[in-house]
């Protein structure tokens, strides 16, 4: 049936008012998100003020974390956070890039592609506490009895691999983080590699370059910025991971050159100590750690997004 002009007009009006309602809802939702963000920042900084006024910027370079004497500094957990994240990226980057190249480039094994992609998504979906449990019961004994002694035996001339392995510590925590950031690394790298224009690839092959040469001298240089973005987004994930790291890092306030040693990370300190933190300065110091962590992750995430955005010209890679 063809609607009469009158019905069509009223329908038009309905649509217009529907648009208006939708616009109000959308604006409201966006405003609410912004409001939550502002409230969040205020609610984080205000309780941190007693510690910020007491310790100032010296907080960043103080190694002590002594609740008994009320002396607090963030250097030890900052160190632990950076070291474990660096280990995670060192392990996850080559593996992730290799897997991404395979997924994006190698057409011969296309049958394997979708199961592999599925498995990667599955890995990304595993709750971190489950990974932590697995690490605590399986990975820690494995590291203590096999991996750490092997590294100590072969690379023990480096201070990094000296000391008695307990299974807990920077290396194990870094390995757990590597497993957790791999899916992000693979998915993002795969997307930026796929976004390399087909013409470039074909031109390179037409000039007689092998597949490997094409990847090395054409695709990777072109995708460089995007891959850097993927690394930074993975870093953002690694920096904030709490529970799985807390379960295997060993939770002790020390800075040690040995990767077998126990350490501490920013999220772990907060998660461990907030329940019994009494007094404004102690609790304030935990909030101050939170401020430090948020600052670090914001910087990393903004950098990552800028790079990916510059590369792909869209926010497609937002994960």
């Amino acid at each position: 049936m063809v609607p009469t002009p009158l019905v069509a007009a009223s329908r038009q009006r309905r649509l217009v008012s529907g648009d208006r309602v939708f616009r109000v809802i959308a604006y409201g939702a966006a405003g609410l998100v912004m409001l939550i963000a502002v409230i969040f920042i205020v609610a984080l900084v205000v309780p941190a003020l007693p510690a910020i006024t007491k310790f100032g910027l010296g907080f960043f370079v103080t190694r002590t974390w002594d609740p008994v004497r009320g002396e607090f500094g963030a250097l030890t957990p900052i160190y632990g956070t950076l070291v474990t994240s660096a280990i995670a990226l060192l392990i996850a980057f080559p593996i992730g890039l290799g897997a991404a190249l395979f997924l994006a480039e190698d057409a011969r094994l296309s049958l394997l592609r979708s199961p592999l992609s599925f498995l990667i998504e599955l890995l990304a979906g595993i709750p971190s506490v489950v990974i932590g449990l697995w690490a605590f019961f399986i990975l820690v004994p494995l590291m203590r009895d096999k991996v750490d002694p092997f590294l100590n035996h072969t690379l023990g001339f480096l201070p990094l691999f000296r000391g008695t392995p307990s299974g807990y510590g920077f290396l194990t925590a870094g390995l757990v983080l590597a497993i957790m950031v791999l899916p992000i690394m693979i998915a993002l790298s795969r997307d930026v590699i796929r976004a390399v224009p087909r013409e470039l690839r074909e031109a390179s092959l037409a000039l007689g370059a092998t597949n490997a040469e094409t990847i090395w001298s054409v695709i990777l240089p072109y995708a460089r910025v995007g891959i850097t973005g993927a690394i930074l987004l993975s870093l953002g994930r690694a920096l904030g991971e709490t529970i799985a790291v807390t379960m295997v890092i060993g939770n002790s306030v020390q800075i040690s050159a040995s990767l077998f040693a126990s350490g501490y990370t920013l999220p772990s300190v907060i998660a461990n100590e907030f329940t019994e933190a009494n007094g404004n300065v102690y609790l304030g110091s935990l909030f101050y750690l939170g401020v430090v962590l948020v600052l670090i992750t914001i910087v990393v995430n903004v950098l990552a997004r800028l790079l990916i955005w510059r590369f792909s010209g869209s926010s497609r890679a937002a994960v």
């Binding site: 008994v68 002790s252 461990n272 019994e276």
Partner: protein, 371 residues
């Protein structure tokens, strides 16, 4: 593990309630029905605080609710710090902490005259270890060697200081892995209080607190995680609440107490230690390194806090009735969970304190003053 016990004791309490149903309705001396039996008014009570006594509070509040169904009690085990701050903000009816409120905390809550603090239960700690070939209680530790291990001056199980106390036991040439709590906890407070008492070195270098700056070792979150970490790390040692050691069949050390006797920590040892200190109050509450032949050296009380002036009369009356029951009849539920019964002098002090709680000027707990 603890949950299982809680569930068991809950089951037991149902049975107890069912069996005891007929005896409470008549007065034993006259046989006449009791008309003025102190039945608490209907109320919903909320408490927040320490995790250490939480299994006991859970079992007890369940049993009390079986007895008086008009009173429901919720307890959130969010930690001692949360217990104190939520009481101060008056968002809960009672708070719980392993360490009584400090002078500063009391000032924040309106002064020490406004808050009543009572001891609720008594616990003790063990030093559990993982050494193949050294069975339960076989390892003997003295205050000196315990301090040495946790300060990091004794690093290997074959250290001469350890062998000197352990003639006949072959201690391996193996590094000692110290395991401690990573989260702030009353368990840590009691243990570091003990170390500060027995070792001047510990007192000056580390001190006591719910979280301290540990010289050695690695931290695990909660008693369960400390227990599991010790179990799966050869050469490990750590302090664990007695209940976890018993439930998970860990090997624990014999500890030399103040009198020089070696004891295996037990609930009985905690009671023995507590009986040595008659003047316990919220400012003098430490019972570590107690004298006495049977005293378990690393013992301590857990505390409950409430406001002296209760804004709502019915709620206040129900609260003091529950707490009065908790420190008397309710103590049986503590024993099931490997806490120790409060000694008689503390029960008496608790009831005297509870009798000072008022609402609109009138006393809320109408039980005879203990003699």
């Amino acid at each position: 593990m603890k949950r299982v016990l809680v569930a068991l004791s809950m089951g037991a309490s149902v049975l107890l309630a069912a069996c005891g149903g007929s005896s409470v309705s008549t007065n034993p001396s006259t046989g006449a029905p009791v008309t003025s039996a102190p039945t608490p008014p209907a109320a919903q009570l909320i408490g927040t605080g320490a995790t250490f006594p939480a299994p006991f509070y859970d079992a007890a509040r369940f049993a009390y609710n079986q007895k008086f169904s008009q009173v429901t009690i919720n307890y959130n085990a969010l930690g001692s710090g949360a217990g104190i701050s939520q009481l101060t903000k008056k968002v809960v009816d009672f708070g719980a902490s392993d360490v009584p409120m400090s002078a500063t905390e009391l000032t924040a809550a309106g002064g020490s005259d406004n808050v009543v603090q009572i001891a609720s239960t008594l616990g003790t700690e063990s030093l559990a270890y993982n050494l193949s070939g050294v069975s339960n209680g076989q390892l003997k530790l003295t205050p000196k060697t315990i301090a040495g291990i946790f300060l990091g001056t004794i690093k290997n199980w074959n250290d001469p200081a350890l062998s000197a106390d352990n003639g006949g036991v072959s201690l391996p040439n193996q590094p000692i892995s110290v395991v401690h709590r990573s989260d702030g906890s009353g368990t840590t407070y009691i243990f570091t209080d003990y170390l500060s008492t027995v070792s001047a070195d510990w007192k000056t270098k580390v001190g006591k607190g719910k979280s301290v700056s540990w010289p050695v070792g690695q931290g695990a979150k909660g008693n369960e995680a400390v227990a599991t970490t010790i179990k799966q790390t050869p050469g490990a040692i750590g302090y664990v609440e007695l209940a976890y050691v018993i439930q998970t069949n860990m090997t624990q050390a014999s500890l030399q107490n103040h009198d020089g006797t070696f004891v295996i920590p037990s609930a009985g040892g905690a009671t023995a230690a507590a009986s040595q200190f008659l003047a316990i109050n919220p400012t003098q509450f430490s019972i570590v390194d107690a004298p006495g032949k049977n005293s378990a050296p690393i013992s301590g009380y857990s505390w409950l806090m409430l406001y002296k002036d209760q804004a709502e009369k019915t709620k206040g009356a129900a609260l003091v009735d529950f707490l009065d029951w908790l420190v008397t009849d309710g103590q049986q539920y503590a024993v099931n969970l490997h806490y120790a019964k409060l000694p008689a002098n503390l029960v008496k002090d608790d009831i005297i304190s509870l009798k000072t709680v008022t609402s609109g000027g009138s006393t809320l707990l109408n039980v005879p003053a203990p003699s």
